[in-house]
Amino acid sequence: MTRAVELLLNGLSLGCIDALIALGFVVVFKAARVVNFAHGSLLLLGAYVVGRYHDRLGFAGAVALSVAVTAAVAVLVGAVVLRRVRLADPGTLAILTLGVDIVLATELTRRIGTDLLSTGDPWGAGVVLLAGVHIAQTRIAAAGVAVLLVGAFLAALRFTDWGVALRASAERPATAALVGIRLGRVAATAWFLAGGLAAIAGLFFTAFPASGVTGTVGQAALGAAVPAAVLGGLDSTTGALVGGLAVGLTAAFAAGYQDELAFLGRGFGAVAPYVVMLLVLLVRPSGLFGRRDVTRV
């Protein structure tokens, strides 16, 4: 029983990080209609900046720099590169972001090289005892930060002008443009937010108990974001949150019970979210909360 509670808490805290990653992925899709395969690399960039500069700037300074740099690169990718090809279909745009991803990931992996970069966060390897189970302090911090950020994001989406503009342009771009919403600006803001979220998520994604900033982090993060975003529904922020938690819980439980699941092979925890995603897609082709595409003739 203790183990189940431990896995539940661990899964939820992991799910909070996954939800942050998926949220950035979904915001860009909502605002710019781009499936951003470079999201994992943006996250790696954020983690890399923290890992490289926390000695010189202190942890808080490094995080601030990381958010600024990652958001700036995200806006650059979105505004400069992708706006040039507005007319292309989503598949082509996705491949374009794959190209960006190759360049970013290769360069960052090269810069990391064989260095072992830690995030240098103040929580270190600390563990607290909560309801009889051990949880890493970074995970509690991650959950707290995630709740704050997601709450702020949802409030902004609901109450600010930008939020209304984003929802309107996601709903009906042409009409939104006609009433004076500047779609390019809305999209750029979405890219900016996605970059910032990726940087924060990257920090927690690589902090203890994970093993630090390595070149494979980007792909691992993308591997978490895709099933989370897809099973929730690509254009739904609620979906991203639910999907993120579902992916975190699935991964934690599949890893925790791997002895019982041994017949499915070692390391099943890593692919379990994809199995869940494929099953959900079989029943609901647009994810749990995604808007169904209705084709009118």
Partner: protein, 370 residues
Amino acid sequence: MSRPLQAVVWAMAVALALAAPLSLTSFWLQTALFVMAAAIGAIGLTLLVGVAGQLSLAHAFFVAVGAYGYAFLAGHWPSPLAAVGGVALAGVAGALFSPIAGRLRGIYLGLASLGLVFLGQHILLNATPLTGGFNGRDVAPFNLFGFTFTATNPDVVVFNVPYGALERLWYLFLLVLAIAYWYARNLLHSRPGRALAGIRDSSVAAAVMGVDVRRYRAAAFTVSSGYAGLAGVLFALAFGRIVPDSFGFAMSIDFLAMIVIGGLGSVPGSVAGAAVVTALPLVISHYSGALGFLAQPGEPGVGAADAARLLYGAAVVAVLLFVPGGLAQLVPTARRRVARPNRPRPSVKETSDEANARGGYRPVPDPDRM
């Protein structure tokens, strides 16, 4: 080009290809084998992504099915039968996935197919009796009715050049690539090809014209997987030993890069793209010493492998931004410019499913599609 001239050019190309093993070094032969294997996979992917308009990131999975299927079957069956078996297995895997593929639209399919790659890696690493697990498994050399594709048995010497495994595989691969190319070209210009292009441009319009959209989507997926399987068989033969690492997400991206650089939907373009993407890293690392500006292994700086990846990542971006038709677009443009230098180039406008569904072709940038 006039017809007789074209025939002469073709004949010269064929003669050159047949004589090539006489003078090429083993490095170039090996590179060419990889290029030809990749070209077949790229043709299959361009049929799916470029022609049928279904984004797939799962290509590496089907390549793996073909490669491992062949490696396993070759232990029990004669080689040609095992090769056919590998292709069939990949096709069946594609057909099994097609209920999902047929239901999902565009980008959702691409993301769902990503799941297959990770699942495939998991299976390859864990089904040790079949796949050899992390260390992979050896592939038996191809044996065509007693003629083995190895250095001996029987010994073959042409103009004092001993024909080893690479030289023999060259002819086998050339033949298979030619057939695969010819089949794809015919498919494109036949009824099913037009039906698939119709589905890509507007699934609604295609359905109204009597195309069974779901069945054709599933068929496209199956054919494309079969091509991937064939590529897998050739990869297995060219490598001699296959490991799960070769068939990961990176390979899927490589294939997408090939068809984008070559030009989406173009069969010759995908062959050219395969040549660029496959040969570039090999050639750069082969000549990295001579190139000078690249870092040698162990030194800081941009090494050969990194340089190749940076180059082709940038190439994907640049092609999509500036030459959306890829290499395939450049050739006809150049040819037309040579033929009629003063004629303005006709502009090509893309249409899309959604644009068509909302009222068809639009000449001005449409904010709905941003």
